[in-house]
Symmetry: C2
Subunit: 283 residues, 2 copies
């Protein structure tokens, strides 16, 4: 496995792979790799000939007061994990390499970035789409992998790729969960064992939502109220949003029909946690 | 010469050229091709193995009340000209092919798009950078050619390419002028012969500016005042701006030093005309 820290070096490694007619897969990450990332890497290793994992804690997607400084950066462990998983190249640039001068150019996806996490994290998705555009231009992959856990992010990135005719495919992999149901996330590290147990309630509320929809409930309001009750059973949980939206437009809906995204964001202690499920009533 | 009207067809032609290890040049245009465009095509034919000219009157870079509807679209003549110039592929998509559904994703370059033409054409440069990003992603050229006549546009696009790590080179070719000095532009078609004669005054004012700088004048205000006098000799000329700016940041300067862009926009009859010169006092 190669570790590239400059744009030129990762480009030259990918160019060589391309010459060998290899299909290039990219897994963009902020490091602090866990079994969720591993599932993305495994999908890439299975589908592609040459797998690049980028590790970059992107400053432009963190807002003021967010956890950019304290975001975990266990590079040695991450490299070890990538090596074991069969990654060909880890691209781990410094912020100075990615943003060498005053950065003036931003890629912004309208509408889809406004609800859900967009409401409480202004500028977040603009930072995400901009750094992904940069990574896609640097690595030039045939396919890039994202997790369903960051459901809105996956939808926003897919829209950017479609709108700007970026020549790659986006693959969204299922959320990986702990045995308790808690969605695996680098930010789970911020939780005590007690808080982790409490955080399992997030998925419990989503499961109850799925149960209600399966049982024929179509009133979004009724579902949200029930999920609220479940989440409020744990006093340490501060609800940021519980949203039932159209899975394509991300617009709020009153009646459950077609493809629906049910998304939750809460704060538990020091961590802001998100989770979601996709429901398709036509299936 | 091939004419591709779909994204898939131009991509497949470029892919074949790439397989032959050919260097790909792109000349993005809105059609109504003239000797200015021909100079860009000639540069591409000289430097590259495979030359693509795109012809697309991009709706998203026209503001309300601008000339999108009446912008000339002489496709047959354009194709003839491309064929003679040695172009390999003309990519001429419909608006529906370029913007098939509600377009939500925009590439925006901050600061550089605010002064000069940005002030009177809100959203113009955002439309330009977005469609160029799309064209670059569709054609995947090694190099793209732009004219110095649209000086701010060239600077904005170069900045987008640098900031987003787009894997191509931008070449800016000198402004082509009529014998009168008038910068060649598709919009000159809107002018009567009388107005064309009057429009030659624009370049006369820029030449006077260069003469003053060569003679040691460093006070930008003094130069602008003199250019104003020259432009106002023609009563039909309505001055939009005369600006003396740093050629990199496009910020206004009071004292001429280093690389300076002197840019003019005027309205003469039905046409909005722009022109500029680059001056380097260090040379």
């Amino acid at each position: 496995m190669e570790v590239a820290t400059t744009i030129e070096s990762v480009r030259s490694l990918v160019r060589a792979a391309r010459k060998r007619d290899q299909r290039i897969g990219l897994v963009p990450t902020m490091g602090a790799l866990h079994v969720g990332h591993v599932s993305l890497i495994e999908a890439a290793v299975k589908n592609d000939d040459f797998v690049v994992v980028s590790i970059f804690v992107n400053p432009t997607q963190f807002g003021p007061g967010e956890d950019f400084e304290k975001y975990p950066r266990p590079l040695e462990a991450d490299l070890e994990l990538c090596k074991k998983a069969g990654v060909d190249v880890v691209f781990a640039p410094t912020p100075e390499r990615m943003y060498p001068s005053e950065h003036l150019t931003w890629v912004n996806v309208e509408k889809l970035t406004e609800p859900l996490c967009g409401r409480n994290r202004p500028g977040h998705f603009c930072g995400v789409t901009t750094v992904c555009a940069k990574l896609f231009n640097i690595v030039a992959p045939d396919v890039a992998y994202f997790g369903q856990k960051d459901g809105q992010q996956a939808i926003v990135i897919q829209r950017m790729v479609t709108d700007l005719n970026m020549p790659l495919e986006i693959v969204v992999c299922p959320t990986v969960r702990e045995p308790s149901g808690l969605a695996v996330s680098s930010r789970n590290q911020y939780l005590s064992e007690q808080q982790k147990t409490e955080a399992a309630n997030i998925y419990a509320s989503l499961q109850e939502c799925r149960r209600m929809i399966d049982a024929g409930v179509t009133d979004a309001r009724q579902i949200i109220t029930r999920m609220q009750e479940i989440l409020q059973q744990v006093s340490s949980t501060e609800i940021e949003y519980i949203s039932v939206v159209d899975a394509e437009t991300l617009e709020g809906i009153e009646t459950i029909t077609g493809k629906v995204l049910v998304a939750v964001a809460v704060k538990i202690g020091p961590a802001r946690l998100i989770d979601n499920i996709l429901v398709d009533t036509d299936k």
